[in-house]
């Protein structure tokens, strides 16, 4: 009760005006429903990713509401079974908000463990990108787009950036190339690089598998975000397909890395936020407020600028170093140069593609 009177009024619509506040005071049931939790736990990626979330969303949210935010850096794939088990067993899930890839979030939505976010006030006016495709309502909300760029060591390319993904099968770079270890971010591109078109996906992936066979002979390293940074840093690789955020963070840390979008294009995808079912009412309420805040102009601007990614809030200027960068699409024309696969197609085919990818590279 007392801390409600001292409640720092949030800058945005946490309580819908003073009338709502009065209603809250009048109704003890609702009051309990909105009682502040001791903290909110947000699953996040670490490194540059986590720093951006803390700076752009977490810290301003805490300043506005007084609720501290704790970050859980468990990997996105590893938190998934933990949340699913908690929901299935009727336990309180280990986190309040999950920052997730749209594909993984969609899978959790299919499993039925996500809370509907349709009533968030800040959804209004966002770019269409924010709405998940092929799902009813908003079991997740997308927060920005990102691009799997072709990152390279300028030293190894004295004649300028590679213009085609064929650089990955160039024997000159044998053993000095890298991909994500599940083929994520490159599967559709391999189809195009192998002579197919976007229309071939997912019906005819063969050109992609043929391209992978050639790529395998070129002895790629397969890894995750941190591996790419290490490999660039220790001079193990010259080219990699990785998310622009990682390349940019590496560059900002003094590693000699640049990136480009080759002629075949790059895969563009989205990340989102979702809330697991099974939280106590008041915690779910404040988790929703957190997500709502992350969609506000203020948070989107800070968070996405730190990441160097185009937000779903319209009209935000790109950070100075990324103006005109092909890895920062803002217009229709920018997106047309990239390859976007609808998430239902990804969700349905990712397991099949993954098995095929594994078969080729582990064989």
């Amino acid at each position: 009760m007392t801390d409600l009177t001292r409640l720092a009024l949030p800058r945005r619509r946490f309580l819908q005006g003073s009338a709502a506040a009065a209603a809250v005071l009048a109704a003890p049931g609702i009051l309990r429903a909105q009682e502040k939790p001791a903290e909110l736990i947000v699953r996040a990626w670490g490194g540059a990713w986590g720093d951006a979330l803390k700076e752009g969303v977490g810290d301003p949210f805490t300043a506005a509401t007084g609720i501290p935010v704790r970050y859980d850096f468990t990997e996105d794939n590893e938190i998934k079974p933990k949340i699913w088990a908690a929901v299935d067993q009727g336990r309180i899930p280990p986190i309040h908000v999950n920052w997730d890839t749209t594909t993984n979030a969609t899978i959790s939505a299919l499993r039925g463990v996500t809370v509907d976010l349709s009533d968030l006030s800040n959804l209004e006016g966002l770019l269409p990108l924010a709405k998940p495709v092929g799902l009813d309502g908003y079991p997740i909300v997308n927060t920005y787009a990102y691009v799997y760029v072709c990152a390279y060591r300028p030293e190894a390319f004295p004649d300028g950036a590679p213009t085609s993904w064929n650089v990955l099968i160039d024997p000159k770079f044998r053993g000095r190339i890298a991909l994500y270890d599940d083929g994520i971010g490159f599967n559709p591109i391999s189809v195009i690089a192998g002579g197919g078109t976007v229309a071939d996906i997912p019906g005819n992936m063969q050109p992609g598998w043929d391209f992978y066979e050639k790529l395998r002979i070129n002895e790629p390293l397969l890894g995750e975000d941190a591996d790419f940074t290490n490999w660039f840093q220790n001079g193990e690789i010259d080219v990699a397909c990785t998310i622009s955020v990682n390349a940019r963070a590496a560059k900002q840390n003094g590693i000699d890395v640049a990136w480009t979008v080759p002629q075949e294009g790059c895969k563009v995808d989205t990340d989102g936020l979702w809330i697991p079912k099974g939280l106590p009412t008041n915690e779910e309420y404040w988790a929703k407020e957190f997500v709502n805040f992350a969609l506000s102009r203020e948070a989107q601007e800070k968070w996405c600028s730190a990441l160097g990614l185009p937000p779903v809030f319209p009209g935000i200027e790109p950070p100075a170093d990324l103006a005109g960068d092909p890895s920062y699409p803002t217009t229709e024309a920018d997106f047309a140069k990239l390859v976007s696969i609808p998430s239902p197609v990804l969700v349905e085919n990712q397991p099949i593609w993954f098995e095929k990818f594994n078969e080729i590279f582990q064989g």
């Binding site: 736990i41 990626w45 670490g46 490194g47 540059a48 990713w49 986590g50 704790r70 970050y71 859980d72 850096f73 468990t74 990997e75 590893e78 079974p81 933990k82 088990a85 908690a86 067993q89 336990r91 280990p94 986190i95 995750e224 975000d225 941190a226 940074t229 290490n230 840093q233 963070a249 840390n253 003094g254």
Partner: protein, 266 residues
């Protein structure tokens, strides 16, 4: 080659090779932890303690360290009686189904840790004990229990069964025989096993990942999660902190009971 000199030469060259292989990454990481640069590198760029400072300031580091010490201690305390008794039973008595039992007791090693972790998460979740620390200690004891059993078993050979019989014949009651004859004889195995259990628990991340959450996270899990995105020299600093603590513990052990206890029974 076949002479005594040949023996010394062959054995020593192998021992030195092993010593170098064991020590090399440790030395590189110790060196790299003192870098003043932003990346783990050897030789380090400049010397500084900035990453130790960063470690100390890191939110939750000390709490996570404390939790790790707690679960490791619990794991060891359970393992000592459970593993020692099992090893004595298996090694000293002729039992039916002994081989089957041995294979059964090796399940913690034949089941991949990922699978053990997930199934214990389901089981402990069902039992509503997930989110507490003690189940983590039990789980860590379980997944490494074969080390304790085998360490004690290896030492049982030093125990002459005639000695136990002699004590019995002189009228010593069973508990006395156990405490004064049996236990001292297998002590080196118990100490080795207990130390292994503690060390391994202190470093375990995969099973612990599924049994902790961000409020009960242990240090190895925290490290594992952080390296998924970025590797910074504070990780090297963590390793050095571990090593210093270990050396201190070994020194104390040596002063108290002598390191010989690992190799010789009383």
């Amino acid at each position: 080659m076949r002479s005594a000199r040949g023996k010394a030469w062959v054995l020593w060259s192998m021992v030195i090779l092993v010593l170098v292989t064991l020590a090399l990454p440790t030395l590189v990481i110790i060196g790299a932890s003192f870098t003043s640069g932003d990346i783990i590198r050897f030789p380090p760029e400049g010397l500084s303690l900035r990453w130790y400072r960063a470690l100390w300031d890191l939110g939750g580091f000390r709490a996570a360290l404390g939790r790790t010490a707690y679960v490791s201690a619990l794991c060891t305390l359970i393992a000592i009686p459970v593993g020692t008794l099992a090893a004595l039973a298996l090694a000293r008595r002729r039992m039916r189904f002994a081989r089957t039992i041995q294979v059964y007791l090796l399940l913690p090693f034949t089941i991949p840790l990922v699978v053990s972790g997930i199934s214990m998460m389901m089981l402990f979740g069902e039992a509503r004990v997930l989110g507490q620390l003690w189940p983590v200690g039990v789980a860590l004891c379980l997944i490494n229990l074969p080390f304790m059993i085998w360490a004690v078993s290896s030492a049982v050979n030093a125990l002459d069964p005639e000695l136990e019989n002699a004590a019995m014949n002189c009228g010593a009651p069973p508990v006395t025989v156990f405490l004064t004859v049996t236990l001292p004889a297998v002590m080196p195995g118990v100490i080795t096993g207990a130390l292994l259990m503690f060390i391994l628990a202190f470093n375990e991340f995969l099973v612990s990942l599924f049994l902790t959450d961000s409020r009960t996270v242990t240090l190895p899990v925290q490290i594992y999660n952080s390296i998924r995105n970025v590797i910074t020299p504070d990780l090297a600093a963590v390793s050095v902190v571990y090593i210093v603590v270990a050396l201190a513990a070994i020194w104390v052990l040596d002063r108290l009971v002598g390191l010989e206890i690992f190799l010789k029974s009383k």
